[in-house]
């Protein structure tokens, strides 16, 4: 066993409790981040579904002249956000209502006057289907004088947007707190090992061991803790996911590459925590 790998596991034997604490806090940090990430991912999926159906519908006043309508269609079609635009006349609207709502067909059968307004249906390009863009288009279309009402499923879009931002925020804040605790406990382990091995490190410095060589076992140790923490987090996450999947609804899980990246992220977190706390000791070398 080489010097570096032997020493990297020294801390595990020397202070098992502190080591376990470091691994657990990294695990909690990554677990929290990944759970909220999963919420984010699933909201993103729902949003993508909803977005495909997002359209702005402008209902026109009955008195709107055909000339006015064609100006509106032409101008709105020129908006950079607009993908396609369709004019639905009063008659077409009635026809559609009859087909779509066949169970109420008698309601529409003996009308003296068509109560449905003409409308234009505006589909937006991908990338412009979020609440801010949709609202913006709706606002501009509403300025045309003969537009009576605008509908675009605003509550839905806003609520989902809000939930997604909230899950991101919570994930970062709670995950960040655990990551902070992980940093402190990794630093404390390193300080303990530094003290217990100060004689050895003194000798290494004296005989000309390179700084990187002295630091390497500590960095490997931090990386290993991070990876172990990430694997633990992954196990917890999988268990949580399976439970939700069975009891609640079909959810989307991370792609394998994302999981691998998560484990690497854990390792890097541990290694960085080690490096940060080593820096103090390194400076005096």
């Amino acid at each position: 066993m080489s010097y570096t790998s032997r020493e990297a596991f020294f801390a595990f034997r020397r202070s098992p409790l502190l080591t376990a604490l470091s691994i657990l806090t990294i695990a909690f940090a990554l677990y929290t981040l990944s759970v909220f990430g999963l919420v984010w991912l699933n909201i993103e999926r729902v949003l993508a579904d909803v977005e495909e159906r997002v359209e702005v519908v402008a209902y026109l006043e009955d008195g709107a002249e055909p000339g006015d309508t064609s100006v509106l269609v032409r101008e709105v079609a020129a908006y950079p956000e607009v993908d396609s635009i369709a004019y639905v006349s009063k008659d077409a609207a009635l026809e559609r209502a009859r087909t779509d709502l066949s169970e109420y067909s008698e309601l529409y059968s003996d009308l003296e006057e068509n109560p449905l307004p003409a409308s234009i249906e505006i589909a937006l390009k991908p990338g412009y289907r979020r609440s801010a863009d949709v609202e913006d288009v709706a606002r501009r279309v509403a300025r045309f004088p003969f537009v009576e009402e605008i509908k675009y499923g605003e509550e839905w879009v806003e609520k989902l947007d809000f939930l997604q931002n909230l899950s991101l925020f919570l994930g970062v804040v709670v995950g960040g707190i655990f990551a902070g605790i992980a940093f402190v406990s990794i630093g404390a382990t390193i300080n303990m090992v530094m003290i217990s091995r100060s004689e050895e490190i003194e000798i290494m410095k004296m005989v000309g061991a390179a700084t990187g060589f002295i630091a390497r076992p500590f960095v490997i140790e931090g990386f290993t803790k991070g990876v172990l923490g990430a694997v633990l987090a992954l196990a917890l996450l999988t268990a949580t996911f399976e439970t939700l999947q069975q009891r609640v609804l079909t959810l989307e899980f991370y792609a394998p590459i994302q999981l691998v990246l998560g484990v690497v992220l854990g390792g890097c977190l541990g290694a960085i925590a080690s490096l940060l706390s080593l820096r103090r000791h390194l400076r005096s070398w």
Binding site: M206, G208, F213
Partner: protein, 228 residues
């Protein structure tokens, strides 16, 4: 080799540890550095290892200068020096052999070369038969021999010993001095720091630098080489 040029070292709390010290250690030379405690002997050793830098003046060691050496070069310099301390500084949980091998392990020596080099070096200090003992199973003199072997194993050009006999009784101290003399006979320069003047007479051919309150107050080689 080692050259001090008007070297002063001042500490903010304790004042001057070295004042305007100049000397030149030549290849293969045996040099005692003596003087009462607090005279600046240990500071002088720390200047050679670049653990301390001069407040003024220049220290030159094996092509490196205290003015221009980079932090990452310091380990490279130290690999060319062998250092021995009064308190041995051996790792208590490792055998004599492992203590010596440690130097080679941590300086990236070829794994296959470690064992023969360690055994050869332990033989050179007369400890072949005690290679597998822990420091606690060795006498003070033997522990210091392990420390000397550790300093030698990387083939340094100079052996720096800071009060290597300070913890040993006189008879053992003379034994240890003999080890240093043997090593010097094979061509390696030795800087032997001691406050024990009685040792000096056991190596009459050696150069003696005397320090007092940070100044060099005597240098037996100064008359031969005024520039040193």
């Amino acid at each position: 080799m080692i050259r001090f040029e008007h070297v002063s070292k001042e500490y903010s709390r304790t004042g001057f540890a070295l004042k305007n010290a100049s000397f030149h250690l030549r290849k293969g030379e045996f040099m005692f550095v003596t003087g009462p405690s607090g005279a600046g002997k240990t500071t002088l050793v720390k200047m050679v290892t670049m653990e301390e830098r001069p407040t003024s003046g220049v220290v030159r060691v094996s092509g490196y200068s205290s003015e221009s050496i980079k932090r990452r070069e310091i380990p490279l310099l130290r690999r060319r020096l062998g250092v021995v301390f009064q308190d041995f500084r051996l790792l208590r949980n490792r055998t004599a052999r492992e203590n010596v091998a440690f130097v080679l392990e941590v300086t990236g020596a070829d794994t296959e070369q470690i064992k023969p080099r360690v055994l050869r070096t332990l033989a050179a200090v007369g400890l072949s038969d005690k290679a597998d003992r822990l420091p606690s199973e060795l006498s003070g003199g033997e522990q210091q021999r392990v420390a000397i072997a550790r300093a030698l194993v990387n083939d340094p050009f100079v052996l720096l010993a800071d009060e290597p006999t300070g913890n040993l009784d006189h008879r053992i101290a003379l034994d240890v001095l003999r080890v240093f003399k043997d090593i010097n006979l094979r061509g390696m320069a030795v800087v032997f720091v001691t406050h024990d003047r009685s040792l000096l007479e056991h190596h009459p051919g050696a150069r003696i630098i005397e320090l007092d309150e940070g100044r060099i107050v005597g240098d037996s080689a100064a008359e031969e080489d005024p520039a040193a």
